[in-house]
Every structure is written in C-alpha cells, then in structure tokens.
C-alpha cells in the first residue's frame, strides 16, 4: 500500500517517468549541458516580437516534442500539471490552449518542476490517469521585464544575483511501464527566515531546502549517502554554500549535493553571477542530466529538489520578506 509518512508519500507501486524532453535558449546552448537538450533556440525570441509569447512557444515546442517522443496525441493526456514565472502563469495557459488536454495550472516559482512531478506522481499512482504530464519553463527576457528592468537598461548585477534560465522541461508519467521510477515525494512547507534581498534568492530559499531535505530523510529513514546524488533546484553558489553549512549543523553531510543552478551554466565564465535560476533551470537539468543517468543505470537513486521563492513584486516593494519552498522527488533506476 502507498503510505503517507510525515510529509512524504511513499508509493507502493512507483509511477514511472517514461518520457521527457527539454528545450533551451542561447546561453543554455553555450553551457555545459548543451548537447543533452532535445531542442535549442539560439534565437530566444522564437520568431515572435513579444517575450511572453516566446516563452510560451519554447514551452509548447518542448511539450509537443515530449508527446512526439512518446508517440502520444494530446488527446491521450489525462491531466497536465504546469506552471511558469509569468504573472497568472500565462506561458503555461497559452501552451495548454494549444495542446488542449485537461490542465491544472501551478505556481511554485522555481519549484514548479518538482511540485508538478510530485502531483503528477500521486495522480498517476492513484490510477486517476494513464498519461500524466508535468512541465514548466522560464524565459530570461520575460522574467527580466516583469521582475527587474527593461532589457536594454544598462545595470550591473550584484555577485549574489542569479540568471533566469531560458529553458523548459516536460515529463510524462504513467502508473507503470519502463523509465525512471518515482519512489516517494515530499511536499515542502513554506519557510521564511526574514531574507529581504531580492538579489540573493539562493539565501532566501536555502532554509526551505533544508526543511524539506530533513523531512524527507526523517520520513524515509535515509541519509544523504543513500543517494547517488542530491540535487537542489537553483540555490546557486551562495545558497549552496549556506546549505552545506546548515545541513552540517543539522548533522547531515551533503558531500554528494549538486545544484542545478551551478550545472546549467559554466558559472565562472558565462557571466551568470551566482548561477542559474528560474523554473526552467531545474526542469532542464532534470531532463538533460538527471533522468538520462537514471535511465541508463549510471545512477540508481537520486533525490531531486526544486526550490522556489514565493514573493511577488508587490509584496517585495511593501517590505515583506521572501518566503521559500522546496519539494522533493525520490527517483530510482528500474531494476533489471
């Protein structure tokens, strides 16, 4: 029987991620994971004159590519969980307008990929759907003009800032079959340790990552060393350093930790300051780096977290601190 242990759902029959696809923009096509992307868009306008629309196209192409790889029609999707960083999640809404399948929109900021995977895994494991989709994206330009300054404004980023990835990822889950198994999922709790610096999101999200990691380890009776790797979404270099220190203080050695924000780009040379961020960052790293290694058996067991900062432009200007959240997915290679 599937059991609920603390904040974690441990599946009796693990649902399977059977197909995945990823799409990236220009900077991603110059990064260390470039070769692993399914689709690359060196022209990040994707042929449109509006950045929001460009993100939607990027996302839509990624979802369509995922369906094509699985030889599925949109009609065969029982439910799609998706979201993005745009206000009211419009990139995903317009993607699903074109795709047409049943759709539940999510807002988890940069945690959307893990959030969608957690929900899709529960939904598939419960037998409510045979084909469940989880997807997300982010676009540097759409995020920049919504959250920061016009794109042609000449400003210098502080070294703690992170670079919003222009990327999308999509995963298809089924109750069974061949692929990568989702053994358990841990839904995060909102954590707020009074960080106000909008240019230091890694620090704002770090406590959420610690909280979810500790819940997951407690609920499943595991330690970091039980996993081939523990991934966090996009804490970047600053947040990752803080995570190591805090986890050590809590009694966990995170030697096998990697951060998606530090994997998507060559942080020292690509001018991304502390690393990548954005919902598409962890989604792209999941689909280009993590899932392929579990599928071919190089890794057996991985813990994948996406972390999100849950403020808005309005609450930030009103002086509210930045709450963070993190959701965790335990992924395993299929045996035999």
């Amino acid at each position: 029987m599937t059991v609920r242990n603390g904040d974690t759902v441990i599946f009796h029959t693990p649902p399977i991620i059977h197909t995945w696809a990823s799409a990236g923009g220009k900077k991603e096509s110059e990064g260390p994971l470039a070769d692993a992307f399914d689709l690359l868009f060196p022209d990040t306008s994707c042929g449109t004159s509006k950045w929001e629309q460009a993100e939607s196209i990027l996302q839509q192409k990624c979802v369509e590519h995922c369906l094509k790889k699985a030889s599925l029609d949109p009609d065969q999707i029982d439910l799609a969980f998706g979201g993005d960083l745009q206000a009211q999640c419009t990139a995903s809404n317009y993607t699903m307008r074109a795709v047409g399948a049943p759709y539940a929109g999510l807002y988890g900021a940069c945690s959307t990929m893990a959030e969608g995977l957690c929900l899709a895994a529960c939904f598939a494991a419960a037998g409510y759907g045979k084909q469940v989709l989880a997807f997300t994206s982010s676009h540097f330009c759409a995020a920049e003009r919504q959250f920061r300054t016009p794109l042609d404004y000449g400003g210098k980023r502080p070294p703690t800032a992170q670079w919003t990835a222009t990327a999308a990822g999509a995963c298809l889950l089924s109750p069974g079959g061949k692929g990568v198994a989702v053994h358990s999922v841990t839904f995060g709790r909102v954590q707020d340790y009074d960080v106000h610096d909008i240019n230091n999101m890694g620090a704002a999200m770090m406590p959420a990552a610690v909280s979810t990691l500790m819940h997951h380890f407690d609920d499943t009776g595991t330690v970091p060393a039980d996993y081939d790797a523990v991934f966090t979404g996009d804490l970047g270099q600053v947040g990752s350093g803080l995570l190591h220190r805090q986890m050590l203080a809590e009694g966990y050695d995170l030697a096998n930790h990697r951060d998606c924000g530090c994997l998507l780009y060559d942080v020292g040379n690509q001018h991304v300051q502390a690393g990548g961020s954005g919902a598409g960052c962890s989604a792209a790293v999941l689909c280009t780096h993590v899932l392929p290694r579990l599928a071919d058996g190089r890794w057996k067991r991985v813990l994948f977290l996406s972390t999100g900062a849950l403020m808005s432009q309005t609450t930030y200007l009103q002086g509210e601190s930045i709450p963070g959240i993190a959701h965790a997915v335990e992924l395993r290679a299929q045996e035999g």
Partner: protein, 118 residues
C-alpha cells in the same frame, strides 16, 4: 586643463556611486534619486556652482548636475517673478533634458526592439 578636470571630477563622482553600490544595500534607483536631491542641496548651500565653474561637464553631466540645474532654475525664477518661481523654475531649467529623453525614447521605440542579454 579644463578637459582633464572634467574627466577627473566626473570620474570621481561616478566612483562615489560605485562605492555606494558595492558597500551599501542601496538600489541604483535610490542612488540616482539621492544624487539628484544631493545636487539640489549642494547647489543650495553654494558648493556646486564653484565646482561646475572648475570642472565644467565633469560636474554638470553626472546626475548631481541635474539637481544643480533644478536648484539654479528655481533661484533665477524666484529672482525674476517671485514666489510662483518655486513652481516654474526647476522644471523649466530641466525641460531640455527631460524632453530630449522623452522624444529620443519614443523615436527609439518606433524603430527599435528589446534585446536578449545572453
């Protein structure tokens, strides 16, 4: 000599801004607003005019100079028309810069498009 002082004084005023960015949590928008208000104050206490005489564009081109311009505008308007000058003087003096930014901005929007930074 005038050119050297324009370079040195202008550069130095920018360095102060850079130090504020690196050492404080002030955002660029706040720093610029602070520069303009400081320019008005420095002009009011009579410090900025000598600097502008000495350094020319080195003092007038940084945003401190924009504040100086506003303050000078108010002074000459009050001298000319009395109390109503407090309303008309500042923006009259600054009109050229504001209107030019506006006009060239709209022209740029007509022909240009925004660029990805990557």
């Amino acid at each position: 000599m005038q050119y050297i002082w324009a370079f040195v004084v202008g550069g130095a005023i920018c360095v102060i801004g850079q130090l504020l960015i690196d050492y404080t949590a002030l955002t660029p928008a706040r720093i610029l607003t602070g520069y303009v208000v400081t320019g008005v104050v420095l002009s009011a206490v009579g410090l900025y005019d000598p600097l502008a005489e000495f350094a020319g564009a080195g003092a007038s081109v940084p945003l401190l100079g924009f504040g100086h311009l506003l303050a000078q505008g108010v002074v000459s308007a009050v001298d000319e028309i009395g109390l109503p000058g407090i309303f008309t003087g500042g923006l009259t003096a600054a009109a050229g810069g504001i209107a030019a930014s506006l006009v060239f901005g709209v022209l740029a929007a007509l022909v240009g498009k925004s660029h990805d930074q990557s």
